[in-house]
Chain length 298, copies 2
Protein backbone atom coordinates (compact mmCIF):
# COMPACT_ATOMS: atom_id res chain seq x y z
CA UNK A 1 0.00 0.00 0.00
CA UNK A 2 0.99 3.60 -0.67
CA UNK A 3 0.50 5.73 2.45
CA UNK A 4 0.32 9.00 0.52
CA UNK A 5 -2.63 7.90 -1.60
CA UNK A 6 -4.18 6.19 1.44
CA UNK A 7 -4.06 9.49 3.34
CA UNK A 8 -5.44 11.44 0.43
CA UNK A 9 -8.29 8.94 -0.05
CA UNK A 10 -9.17 9.08 3.63
CA UNK A 11 -8.93 12.87 3.71
CA UNK A 12 -11.57 12.94 0.96
CA UNK A 13 -13.78 10.56 2.93
CA UNK A 14 -13.54 12.79 6.02
CA UNK A 15 -14.03 15.94 3.96
CA UNK A 16 -17.18 14.49 2.38
CA UNK A 17 -18.40 13.25 5.75
CA UNK A 18 -17.94 16.65 7.34
CA UNK A 19 -19.66 18.35 4.41
CA UNK A 20 -22.63 16.00 4.70
CA UNK A 21 -22.92 16.28 8.49
CA UNK A 22 -22.02 19.92 9.09
CA UNK A 23 -24.65 22.65 9.28
CA UNK A 24 -25.19 24.91 6.28
CA UNK A 25 -24.66 28.66 6.46
CA UNK A 26 -28.31 29.61 6.30
CA UNK A 27 -30.85 31.03 8.71
CA UNK A 28 -30.47 33.22 11.79
CA UNK A 29 -27.15 31.72 12.82
CA UNK A 30 -25.49 31.81 9.38
CA UNK A 31 -22.51 33.93 10.45
CA UNK A 32 -21.85 31.72 13.46
CA UNK A 33 -21.98 28.59 11.32
CA UNK A 34 -19.67 30.26 8.81
CA UNK A 35 -17.13 30.76 11.63
CA UNK A 36 -17.40 27.07 12.56
CA UNK A 37 -17.01 25.99 8.94
CA UNK A 38 -14.07 28.33 8.31
CA UNK A 39 -11.83 26.46 10.72
CA UNK A 40 -13.33 23.02 10.10
CA UNK A 41 -12.64 23.23 6.37
CA UNK A 42 -9.22 24.88 6.60
CA UNK A 43 -7.34 21.96 5.02
CA UNK A 44 -6.41 20.15 8.20
CA UNK A 45 -4.44 16.91 7.88
CA UNK A 46 -7.33 14.99 9.48
CA UNK A 47 -4.90 12.85 11.48
CA UNK A 48 -7.30 11.94 14.30
CA UNK A 49 -10.28 10.94 12.15
CA UNK A 50 -7.99 8.99 9.82
CA UNK A 51 -6.55 7.11 12.81
CA UNK A 52 -10.10 6.33 13.91
CA UNK A 53 -11.11 4.97 10.49
CA UNK A 54 -7.82 3.10 10.00
CA UNK A 55 -8.25 1.42 13.40
CA UNK A 56 -11.74 0.36 12.43
CA UNK A 57 -10.38 -1.13 9.18
CA UNK A 58 -7.60 -2.92 11.00
CA UNK A 59 -10.22 -4.94 12.87
CA UNK A 60 -13.16 -5.09 10.50
CA UNK A 61 -13.07 -3.60 7.02
CA UNK A 62 -16.80 -3.91 6.40
CA UNK A 63 -18.73 -1.07 4.84
CA UNK A 64 -21.05 -0.95 7.85
CA UNK A 65 -18.24 -0.35 10.32
CA UNK A 66 -16.81 2.34 8.06
CA UNK A 67 -20.21 4.03 7.93
CA UNK A 68 -20.68 3.83 11.68
CA UNK A 69 -17.24 5.27 12.35
CA UNK A 70 -17.53 8.20 9.95
CA UNK A 71 -19.62 10.40 12.30
CA UNK A 72 -17.26 9.47 15.14
CA UNK A 73 -14.28 10.45 13.02
CA UNK A 74 -15.98 13.74 12.09
CA UNK A 75 -16.77 14.44 15.74
CA UNK A 76 -13.09 13.95 16.62
CA UNK A 77 -12.13 16.47 13.94
CA UNK A 78 -14.69 18.97 15.29
CA UNK A 79 -13.15 18.62 18.75
CA UNK A 80 -9.62 18.98 17.42
CA UNK A 81 -10.66 22.04 15.40
CA UNK A 82 -12.34 23.71 18.38
CA UNK A 83 -9.18 23.17 20.42
CA UNK A 84 -7.10 24.93 17.76
CA UNK A 85 -9.55 27.85 17.54
CA UNK A 86 -9.40 28.37 21.31
CA UNK A 87 -5.61 27.77 21.52
CA UNK A 88 -5.06 30.49 18.93
CA UNK A 89 -7.04 33.12 20.89
CA UNK A 90 -5.29 36.32 22.04
CA UNK A 91 -5.73 35.20 25.65
CA UNK A 92 -3.92 31.93 24.87
CA UNK A 93 -1.23 31.50 22.21
CA UNK A 94 -2.27 34.69 20.39
CA UNK A 95 -1.60 33.24 16.95
CA UNK A 96 -2.66 35.07 13.83
CA UNK A 97 -1.81 32.33 11.35
CA UNK A 98 -2.94 28.71 11.19
CA UNK A 99 -2.51 26.39 8.21
CA UNK A 100 -1.32 29.43 6.28
CA UNK A 101 -4.57 31.33 6.82
CA UNK A 102 -5.71 33.98 9.31
CA UNK A 103 -6.84 32.39 12.56
CA UNK A 104 -10.53 32.30 13.41
CA UNK A 105 -10.49 35.28 15.78
CA UNK A 106 -8.72 37.44 13.20
CA UNK A 107 -11.68 36.97 10.86
CA UNK A 108 -14.62 36.54 13.24
CA UNK A 109 -13.47 38.49 16.29
CA UNK A 110 -12.57 37.14 19.69
CA UNK A 111 -16.15 36.54 20.82
CA UNK A 112 -17.01 34.95 17.49
CA UNK A 113 -14.06 32.57 17.73
CA UNK A 114 -14.75 31.58 21.34
CA UNK A 115 -18.35 30.82 20.42
CA UNK A 116 -17.42 29.00 17.19
CA UNK A 117 -15.16 26.78 19.29
CA UNK A 118 -17.89 26.20 21.85
CA UNK A 119 -20.28 25.17 19.10
CA UNK A 120 -17.80 22.86 17.39
CA UNK A 121 -17.28 21.06 20.69
CA UNK A 122 -20.99 20.80 21.40
CA UNK A 123 -21.77 19.78 17.84
CA UNK A 124 -19.27 16.91 18.15
CA UNK A 125 -21.45 15.37 20.85
CA UNK A 126 -24.50 15.83 18.67
CA UNK A 127 -22.74 13.87 15.91
CA UNK A 128 -21.81 11.14 18.39
CA UNK A 129 -25.36 10.75 19.67
CA UNK A 130 -27.60 11.45 16.68
CA UNK A 131 -30.23 8.78 16.36
CA UNK A 132 -30.00 8.45 12.60
CA UNK A 133 -26.31 8.13 11.88
CA UNK A 134 -25.19 4.79 13.29
CA UNK A 135 -26.22 1.17 13.54
CA UNK A 136 -23.87 0.57 16.47
CA UNK A 137 -25.54 -0.70 19.65
CA UNK A 138 -26.45 2.24 21.92
CA UNK A 139 -24.23 0.83 24.68
CA UNK A 140 -21.15 1.03 22.44
CA UNK A 141 -22.05 4.54 21.34
CA UNK A 142 -22.26 5.60 24.98
CA UNK A 143 -18.85 4.09 25.67
CA UNK A 144 -17.38 6.04 22.74
CA UNK A 145 -18.95 9.27 24.01
CA UNK A 146 -17.64 8.70 27.53
CA UNK A 147 -14.16 7.91 26.25
CA UNK A 148 -14.03 11.01 24.04
CA UNK A 149 -15.44 13.28 26.76
CA UNK A 150 -12.80 12.05 29.20
CA UNK A 151 -9.98 12.44 26.67
CA UNK A 152 -11.08 15.95 25.65
CA UNK A 153 -11.92 17.23 29.15
CA UNK A 154 -10.31 18.53 32.34
CA UNK A 155 -8.01 15.54 32.87
CA UNK A 156 -7.25 15.30 29.16
CA UNK A 157 -6.90 17.83 26.37
CA UNK A 158 -8.22 20.94 28.13
CA UNK A 159 -6.34 20.15 31.34
CA UNK A 160 -3.19 19.72 29.28
CA UNK A 161 -3.65 23.03 27.51
CA UNK A 162 -4.23 24.76 30.86
CA UNK A 163 -1.05 23.26 32.28
CA UNK A 164 0.83 24.20 29.11
CA UNK A 165 -0.17 27.84 29.48
CA UNK A 166 0.53 27.85 33.23
CA UNK A 167 3.99 26.46 32.50
CA UNK A 168 5.11 29.14 30.04
CA UNK A 169 8.27 30.94 31.15
CA UNK A 170 8.67 28.44 33.98
CA UNK A 171 11.43 25.83 34.03
CA UNK A 172 9.15 22.82 34.35
CA UNK A 173 10.74 19.43 35.02
CA UNK A 174 10.51 16.69 32.38
CA UNK A 175 7.67 14.77 34.10
CA UNK A 176 5.46 17.87 33.90
CA UNK A 177 6.26 18.28 30.21
CA UNK A 178 5.34 14.63 29.71
CA UNK A 179 2.05 15.14 31.55
CA UNK A 180 1.30 18.14 29.31
CA UNK A 181 2.06 16.15 26.15
CA UNK A 182 0.06 13.14 27.29
CA UNK A 183 -2.97 15.23 28.22
CA UNK A 184 -2.91 17.96 25.59
CA UNK A 185 -2.09 15.89 22.51
CA UNK A 186 -1.85 12.24 23.47
CA UNK A 187 -5.28 11.79 25.03
CA UNK A 188 -7.33 12.74 21.95
CA UNK A 189 -5.06 10.81 19.57
CA UNK A 190 -5.24 7.70 21.75
CA UNK A 191 -8.99 7.94 22.10
CA UNK A 192 -9.40 8.39 18.33
CA UNK A 193 -7.91 4.93 18.04
CA UNK A 194 -9.88 3.52 20.97
CA UNK A 195 -13.14 4.89 19.57
CA UNK A 196 -12.41 3.17 16.26
CA UNK A 197 -11.63 -0.02 18.16
CA UNK A 198 -14.92 0.03 20.08
CA UNK A 199 -16.85 0.74 16.89
CA UNK A 200 -15.22 -2.21 15.15
CA UNK A 201 -15.78 -4.64 18.03
CA UNK A 202 -12.24 -4.97 19.39
CA UNK A 203 -11.54 -7.69 21.95
CA UNK A 204 -9.99 -6.67 25.28
CA UNK A 205 -6.60 -7.83 24.08
CA UNK A 206 -6.88 -5.91 20.81
CA UNK A 207 -7.96 -2.83 22.72
CA UNK A 208 -4.91 -3.07 24.97
CA UNK A 209 -2.54 -3.33 22.02
CA UNK A 210 -4.24 -0.47 20.17
CA UNK A 211 -4.13 1.69 23.27
CA UNK A 212 -0.35 1.24 23.49
CA UNK A 213 -0.13 2.00 19.76
CA UNK A 214 -2.16 5.17 20.37
CA UNK A 215 -0.12 6.34 23.33
CA UNK A 216 3.15 5.82 21.47
CA UNK A 217 2.13 7.63 18.31
CA UNK A 218 0.54 10.37 20.43
CA UNK A 219 3.90 10.90 22.07
CA UNK A 220 5.76 10.76 18.76
CA UNK A 221 3.31 13.19 17.22
CA UNK A 222 3.89 15.81 19.91
CA UNK A 223 7.67 15.33 19.87
CA UNK A 224 7.68 15.80 16.09
CA UNK A 225 5.57 18.93 16.50
CA UNK A 226 8.14 20.26 18.95
CA UNK A 227 10.92 19.48 16.45
CA UNK A 228 9.10 21.13 13.54
CA UNK A 229 8.50 24.25 15.62
CA UNK A 230 12.30 24.59 15.87
CA UNK A 231 13.45 23.41 12.45
CA UNK A 232 10.78 24.69 10.05
CA UNK A 233 10.01 28.07 8.61
CA UNK A 234 6.67 29.77 9.21
CA UNK A 235 5.85 29.16 5.55
CA UNK A 236 6.48 25.42 5.87
CA UNK A 237 4.46 25.19 9.09
CA UNK A 238 1.56 27.41 8.10
CA UNK A 239 1.82 28.89 11.58
CA UNK A 240 4.41 30.89 13.49
CA UNK A 241 7.70 28.94 13.64
CA UNK A 242 9.88 29.23 16.73
CA UNK A 243 6.87 30.22 18.79
CA UNK A 244 7.56 27.63 21.50
CA UNK A 245 10.95 29.12 22.29
CA UNK A 246 9.57 32.66 22.12
CA UNK A 247 6.95 31.77 24.71
CA UNK A 248 9.43 29.98 26.95
CA UNK A 249 7.58 26.70 26.48
CA UNK A 250 9.11 23.48 27.68
CA UNK A 251 9.68 21.17 24.72
CA UNK A 252 11.54 17.93 24.03
CA UNK A 253 14.25 19.69 22.00
CA UNK A 254 14.82 22.10 24.90
CA UNK A 255 15.47 19.12 27.18
CA UNK A 256 17.33 16.77 24.86
CA UNK A 257 18.49 18.72 21.81
CA UNK A 258 17.25 17.96 18.30
CA UNK A 259 19.16 14.74 17.57
CA UNK A 260 18.27 12.95 20.79
CA UNK A 261 14.69 14.15 20.44
CA UNK A 262 14.50 12.63 16.96
CA UNK A 263 15.82 9.37 18.39
CA UNK A 264 13.07 9.43 21.00
CA UNK A 265 10.40 9.99 18.37
CA UNK A 266 11.80 7.07 16.35
CA UNK A 267 11.79 4.85 19.41
CA UNK A 268 8.15 5.70 20.16
CA UNK A 269 7.20 4.90 16.56
CA UNK A 270 8.95 1.54 16.73
CA UNK A 271 7.15 0.72 19.96
CA UNK A 272 3.85 1.72 18.34
CA UNK A 273 4.43 -0.65 15.44
CA UNK A 274 5.56 -3.42 17.81
CA UNK A 275 2.30 -3.07 19.72
CA UNK A 276 0.44 -4.13 16.56
CA UNK A 277 2.10 -7.56 16.62
CA UNK A 278 -0.53 -10.19 15.84
CA UNK A 279 -2.66 -7.88 13.68
CA UNK A 280 -2.87 -8.90 10.02
CA UNK A 281 -2.34 -6.87 6.85
CA UNK A 282 -5.51 -4.88 7.50
CA UNK A 283 -3.44 -3.01 10.10
CA UNK A 284 -0.79 -1.98 7.57
CA UNK A 285 -2.23 1.54 7.25
CA UNK A 286 -1.81 1.95 11.02
CA UNK A 287 1.79 0.75 10.74
CA UNK A 288 2.55 3.10 7.89
CA UNK A 289 0.76 5.99 9.57
CA UNK A 290 3.17 5.58 12.47
CA UNK A 291 6.16 5.80 10.16
CA UNK A 292 4.60 8.71 8.31
CA UNK A 293 4.29 10.68 11.56
CA UNK A 294 7.99 10.19 12.18
CA UNK A 295 9.14 11.09 8.68
CA UNK A 296 7.42 14.49 9.01
CA UNK A 297 10.31 15.46 11.31
CA UNK A 298 13.01 14.78 8.72
Amino acid sequence: MDITSYLSDKQSVIEDGLKALMLQTTGSFAKHIEAMRYSLFASGKRVRPILCLATGEALDNSLETAKNLLPVACALECIHTYSLVHDDLPAMDNDTLRRGKPTNHILFGEAGAILAGDSLLTFAFELLSREDNSTLPAQKRLRIIEMIARAAGPLGMVGGQTLDIESEQIAVPLPVLQTIHRAKTGALITCSIQAGAIGAGATIEEMEKLTIYGEKIGLAFQIVDDILNVTSTTEQLGKAAGSDANRGKATYPAFFGIEQTKAKAKEAIEEAIDALHGFDAKADPLRQLATFIYTRSN
Copy 2:
Protein backbone atom coordinates in the same frame (compact mmCIF):
# COMPACT_ATOMS: atom_id res chain seq x y z
CA MET B 1 -46.58 22.21 49.05
CA ASP B 2 -44.32 25.12 49.86
CA ILE B 3 -42.26 26.12 46.83
CA THR B 4 -39.56 27.85 48.88
CA SER B 5 -38.74 24.75 50.90
CA TYR B 6 -39.12 22.60 47.76
CA LEU B 7 -36.51 24.73 46.01
CA SER B 8 -34.18 24.67 48.95
CA ASP B 9 -34.49 20.87 49.27
CA LYS B 10 -33.78 20.39 45.60
CA GLN B 11 -30.88 22.86 45.67
CA SER B 12 -29.31 20.65 48.37
CA VAL B 13 -29.85 17.55 46.26
CA ILE B 14 -28.14 19.20 43.26
CA GLU B 15 -25.36 20.59 45.44
CA ASP B 16 -24.68 17.13 46.90
CA GLY B 17 -24.89 15.56 43.46
CA LEU B 18 -22.39 18.02 42.02
CA LYS B 19 -20.06 17.53 44.97
CA ALA B 20 -20.17 13.77 44.54
CA LEU B 21 -19.70 13.85 40.76
CA MET B 22 -17.30 16.76 40.32
CA LEU B 23 -13.54 16.29 40.18
CA GLN B 24 -11.47 17.08 43.27
CA THR B 25 -8.76 19.74 43.25
CA THR B 26 -5.83 17.36 43.36
CA GLY B 27 -3.13 16.27 40.95
CA SER B 28 -1.54 18.01 38.00
CA PHE B 29 -4.71 19.81 36.97
CA ALA B 30 -5.70 21.07 40.44
CA LYS B 31 -5.75 24.75 39.50
CA HIS B 32 -7.85 24.09 36.42
CA ILE B 33 -10.34 22.04 38.44
CA GLU B 34 -10.43 24.80 41.05
CA ALA B 35 -11.47 27.24 38.31
CA MET B 36 -14.26 24.87 37.24
CA ARG B 37 -15.43 24.38 40.82
CA TYR B 38 -15.32 28.11 41.59
CA SER B 39 -18.11 28.90 39.16
CA LEU B 40 -19.97 25.63 39.62
CA PHE B 41 -20.30 26.16 43.37
CA ALA B 42 -21.02 29.89 43.26
CA SER B 43 -24.51 29.60 44.77
CA GLY B 44 -26.45 29.39 41.53
CA LYS B 45 -30.23 29.03 41.77
CA ARG B 46 -30.01 25.61 40.03
CA VAL B 47 -33.14 26.39 37.99
CA ARG B 48 -32.36 24.03 35.09
CA PRO B 49 -31.44 20.96 37.15
CA ILE B 50 -34.43 21.54 39.43
CA LEU B 51 -36.73 21.70 36.40
CA CYS B 52 -35.22 18.43 35.19
CA LEU B 53 -35.78 16.67 38.53
CA ALA B 54 -39.26 18.18 39.00
CA THR B 55 -40.28 16.98 35.55
CA GLY B 56 -39.06 13.49 36.42
CA GLU B 57 -41.12 13.57 39.62
CA ALA B 58 -44.20 14.81 37.79
CA LEU B 59 -44.21 11.58 35.77
CA ASP B 60 -42.62 9.04 38.08
CA ASN B 61 -41.58 9.87 41.61
CA SER B 62 -39.60 6.66 42.15
CA LEU B 63 -36.19 6.73 43.78
CA GLU B 64 -34.66 5.05 40.74
CA THR B 65 -35.81 7.77 38.34
CA ALA B 66 -34.54 10.44 40.74
CA LYS B 67 -31.17 8.70 40.89
CA ASN B 68 -30.97 8.35 37.11
CA LEU B 69 -31.84 12.00 36.56
CA LEU B 70 -29.36 13.42 39.08
CA PRO B 71 -26.31 13.15 36.78
CA VAL B 72 -28.40 14.59 33.94
CA ALA B 73 -29.42 17.50 36.17
CA CYS B 74 -25.80 18.05 37.19
CA ALA B 75 -24.69 17.97 33.56
CA LEU B 76 -27.25 20.67 32.73
CA GLU B 77 -25.87 22.83 35.53
CA CYS B 78 -22.31 22.32 34.23
CA ILE B 79 -23.44 23.49 30.78
CA HIS B 80 -25.28 26.48 32.21
CA THR B 81 -22.25 27.40 34.32
CA TYR B 82 -19.84 27.16 31.37
CA SER B 83 -22.13 29.46 29.39
CA LEU B 84 -22.00 32.07 32.16
CA VAL B 85 -18.20 31.82 32.44
CA HIS B 86 -17.82 32.41 28.70
CA ASP B 87 -20.54 35.10 28.55
CA ASP B 88 -18.74 37.08 31.25
CA LEU B 89 -15.40 37.13 29.37
CA PRO B 90 -13.87 40.47 28.37
CA ALA B 91 -14.43 39.60 24.70
CA MET B 92 -18.15 39.08 25.40
CA ASP B 93 -20.15 40.88 28.09
CA ASN B 94 -17.00 41.85 30.02
CA ASP B 95 -18.64 41.40 33.41
CA THR B 96 -16.60 41.50 36.60
CA LEU B 97 -19.35 40.46 38.98
CA ARG B 98 -21.60 37.38 38.96
CA ARG B 99 -23.77 36.25 41.86
CA GLY B 100 -22.09 38.94 43.95
CA LYS B 101 -18.61 37.48 43.41
CA PRO B 102 -15.75 38.23 41.00
CA THR B 103 -16.29 36.50 37.66
CA ASN B 104 -14.14 33.53 36.74
CA HIS B 105 -11.71 35.42 34.50
CA ILE B 106 -11.09 38.03 37.18
CA LEU B 107 -9.76 35.28 39.44
CA PHE B 108 -8.30 32.77 36.98
CA GLY B 109 -7.38 34.98 34.05
CA GLU B 110 -8.91 35.02 30.61
CA ALA B 111 -7.24 31.84 29.38
CA GLY B 112 -8.07 30.07 32.63
CA ALA B 113 -11.73 31.04 32.34
CA ILE B 114 -12.04 30.03 28.69
CA LEU B 115 -10.53 26.65 29.51
CA ALA B 116 -12.60 26.18 32.67
CA GLY B 117 -15.69 26.76 30.55
CA ASP B 118 -14.46 24.33 27.90
CA SER B 119 -13.93 21.68 30.55
CA LEU B 120 -17.30 22.22 32.22
CA LEU B 121 -18.98 21.71 28.86
CA THR B 122 -16.96 18.60 28.07
CA PHE B 123 -17.39 17.22 31.58
CA ALA B 124 -21.16 17.54 31.21
CA PHE B 125 -21.04 14.98 28.40
CA GLU B 126 -18.90 12.71 30.53
CA LEU B 127 -21.58 12.86 33.23
CA LEU B 128 -24.27 12.08 30.68
CA SER B 129 -22.45 9.04 29.30
CA ARG B 130 -20.61 7.54 32.28
CA GLU B 131 -21.21 3.82 32.45
CA ASP B 132 -21.69 3.67 36.21
CA ASN B 133 -24.14 6.41 36.97
CA SER B 134 -27.49 5.39 35.47
CA THR B 135 -29.76 2.39 35.03
CA LEU B 136 -31.58 4.05 32.14
CA PRO B 137 -31.53 2.10 28.87
CA ALA B 138 -28.60 3.20 26.70
CA GLN B 139 -30.99 4.25 23.94
CA LYS B 140 -32.71 6.75 26.25
CA ARG B 141 -29.38 8.08 27.47
CA LEU B 142 -28.33 8.68 23.87
CA ARG B 143 -31.57 10.55 23.18
CA ILE B 144 -30.92 12.77 26.22
CA ILE B 145 -27.37 13.48 25.05
CA GLU B 146 -28.54 14.34 21.54
CA MET B 147 -31.27 16.60 22.86
CA ILE B 148 -28.91 18.46 25.19
CA ALA B 149 -26.19 18.79 22.54
CA ARG B 150 -28.71 20.28 20.10
CA ALA B 151 -30.13 22.68 22.70
CA ALA B 152 -26.68 23.84 23.83
CA GLY B 153 -25.09 24.06 20.38
CA PRO B 154 -24.93 26.28 17.28
CA LEU B 155 -28.70 26.36 16.68
CA GLY B 156 -29.42 26.68 20.39
CA MET B 157 -27.65 28.36 23.28
CA VAL B 158 -24.33 29.22 21.61
CA GLY B 159 -26.03 30.38 18.42
CA GLY B 160 -28.30 32.58 20.54
CA GLN B 161 -25.39 34.10 22.41
CA THR B 162 -23.61 34.80 19.13
CA LEU B 163 -26.66 36.52 17.70
CA ASP B 164 -27.10 38.45 20.95
CA ILE B 165 -23.57 39.84 20.71
CA GLU B 166 -23.90 40.56 16.98
CA SER B 167 -27.11 42.48 17.72
CA GLU B 168 -25.68 44.86 20.31
CA GLN B 169 -26.09 48.52 19.35
CA ILE B 170 -28.29 47.47 16.43
CA ALA B 171 -32.03 48.13 16.32
CA VAL B 172 -33.07 44.51 15.84
CA PRO B 173 -36.73 43.80 15.06
CA LEU B 174 -38.84 41.87 17.58
CA PRO B 175 -38.66 38.52 15.73
CA VAL B 176 -34.85 38.59 16.01
CA LEU B 177 -35.09 39.32 19.74
CA GLN B 178 -37.47 36.39 20.07
CA THR B 179 -35.05 34.14 18.18
CA ILE B 180 -32.25 35.24 20.52
CA HIS B 181 -34.36 34.53 23.61
CA ARG B 182 -35.55 31.18 22.32
CA ALA B 183 -32.06 30.03 21.41
CA LYS B 184 -29.95 31.60 24.14
CA THR B 185 -32.16 30.90 27.16
CA GLY B 186 -35.21 28.96 26.06
CA ALA B 187 -33.49 25.99 24.41
CA LEU B 188 -31.56 24.79 27.48
CA ILE B 189 -34.51 25.36 29.82
CA THR B 190 -36.85 23.46 27.52
CA CYS B 191 -34.42 20.60 27.10
CA SER B 192 -33.89 20.39 30.88
CA ILE B 193 -37.57 19.52 31.06
CA GLN B 194 -37.46 17.23 28.04
CA ALA B 195 -34.45 15.36 29.43
CA GLY B 196 -36.34 14.79 32.68
CA ALA B 197 -39.32 13.60 30.67
CA ILE B 198 -37.27 11.07 28.68
CA GLY B 199 -35.62 9.80 31.86
CA ALA B 200 -39.01 9.27 33.51
CA GLY B 201 -40.57 7.51 30.53
CA ALA B 202 -42.92 10.20 29.22
CA THR B 203 -45.46 9.26 26.56
CA ILE B 204 -45.49 11.24 23.32
CA GLU B 205 -48.49 13.23 24.55
CA GLU B 206 -46.82 14.00 27.88
CA MET B 207 -43.66 15.05 26.07
CA GLU B 208 -45.64 17.45 23.88
CA LYS B 209 -47.31 19.07 26.87
CA LEU B 210 -44.05 19.33 28.79
CA THR B 211 -42.32 20.83 25.78
CA ILE B 212 -44.93 23.61 25.63
CA TYR B 213 -44.53 24.09 29.38
CA GLY B 214 -40.76 24.37 28.88
CA GLU B 215 -40.98 26.83 25.99
CA LYS B 216 -43.37 29.07 27.89
CA ILE B 217 -41.39 29.21 31.11
CA GLY B 218 -38.20 29.64 29.09
CA LEU B 219 -39.76 32.71 27.52
CA ALA B 220 -41.06 33.99 30.87
CA PHE B 221 -37.66 33.42 32.45
CA GLN B 222 -35.86 35.55 29.88
CA ILE B 223 -38.52 38.29 29.97
CA VAL B 224 -38.22 38.43 33.77
CA ASP B 225 -34.42 38.61 33.43
CA ASP B 226 -34.85 41.57 31.09
CA ILE B 227 -37.19 43.24 33.62
CA LEU B 228 -34.85 42.65 36.55
CA ASN B 229 -31.95 44.11 34.59
CA VAL B 230 -33.94 47.37 34.41
CA THR B 231 -35.63 47.45 37.82
CA SER B 232 -33.07 45.96 40.22
CA THR B 233 -29.93 47.31 41.79
CA THR B 234 -26.55 45.68 41.20
CA GLU B 235 -26.63 44.50 44.81
CA GLN B 236 -29.98 42.77 44.34
CA LEU B 237 -28.89 41.15 41.08
CA GLY B 238 -25.39 40.13 42.11
CA LYS B 239 -24.31 41.36 38.69
CA ALA B 240 -24.23 44.70 36.91
CA ALA B 241 -27.74 46.20 36.74
CA GLY B 242 -28.77 48.24 33.71
CA SER B 243 -26.11 46.49 31.63
CA ASP B 244 -28.56 45.62 28.84
CA ALA B 245 -29.39 49.27 28.18
CA ASN B 246 -25.72 50.27 28.46
CA ARG B 247 -24.81 47.73 25.80
CA GLY B 248 -27.68 48.74 23.54
CA LYS B 249 -29.22 45.28 23.84
CA ALA B 250 -32.68 44.64 22.53
CA THR B 251 -34.95 43.59 25.40
CA TYR B 252 -38.65 43.12 26.00
CA PRO B 253 -38.91 46.26 28.15
CA ALA B 254 -37.25 48.27 25.37
CA PHE B 255 -39.97 47.09 22.98
CA PHE B 256 -43.03 47.08 25.24
CA GLY B 257 -42.25 49.07 28.40
CA ILE B 258 -42.18 47.48 31.85
CA GLU B 259 -45.92 47.06 32.46
CA GLN B 260 -46.76 45.41 29.16
CA THR B 261 -43.67 43.24 29.50
CA LYS B 262 -44.84 42.04 32.90
CA ALA B 263 -48.21 41.20 31.39
CA LYS B 264 -46.47 39.14 28.72
CA ALA B 265 -44.47 37.23 31.32
CA LYS B 266 -47.67 36.54 33.24
CA GLU B 267 -49.39 35.33 30.10
CA ALA B 268 -46.52 32.94 29.31
CA ILE B 269 -46.65 31.55 32.85
CA GLU B 270 -50.40 30.96 32.58
CA GLU B 271 -49.90 29.16 29.29
CA ALA B 272 -47.16 27.04 30.87
CA ILE B 273 -49.48 25.99 33.69
CA ASP B 274 -52.33 25.34 31.25
CA ALA B 275 -50.06 23.01 29.28
CA LEU B 276 -49.87 20.76 32.34
CA HIS B 277 -53.60 20.07 32.19
CA GLY B 278 -54.17 16.37 32.81
CA PHE B 279 -51.08 15.95 35.02
CA ASP B 280 -51.85 15.01 38.63
CA ALA B 281 -50.59 16.52 41.88
CA LYS B 282 -47.09 15.18 41.25
CA ALA B 283 -46.79 18.07 38.76
CA ASP B 284 -47.57 20.70 41.39
CA PRO B 285 -43.88 21.63 41.81
CA LEU B 286 -43.73 22.36 38.07
CA ARG B 287 -46.87 24.53 38.39
CA GLN B 288 -45.48 26.41 41.34
CA LEU B 289 -42.05 26.77 39.73
CA ALA B 290 -43.77 28.57 36.87
CA THR B 291 -45.43 30.99 39.25
CA PHE B 292 -42.19 31.42 41.18
CA ILE B 293 -40.37 32.48 38.02
CA TYR B 294 -42.98 35.18 37.46
CA THR B 295 -42.99 36.50 41.01
CA ARG B 296 -39.23 37.15 40.78
CA SER B 297 -40.16 40.15 38.59
CA ASN B 298 -42.36 41.81 41.22
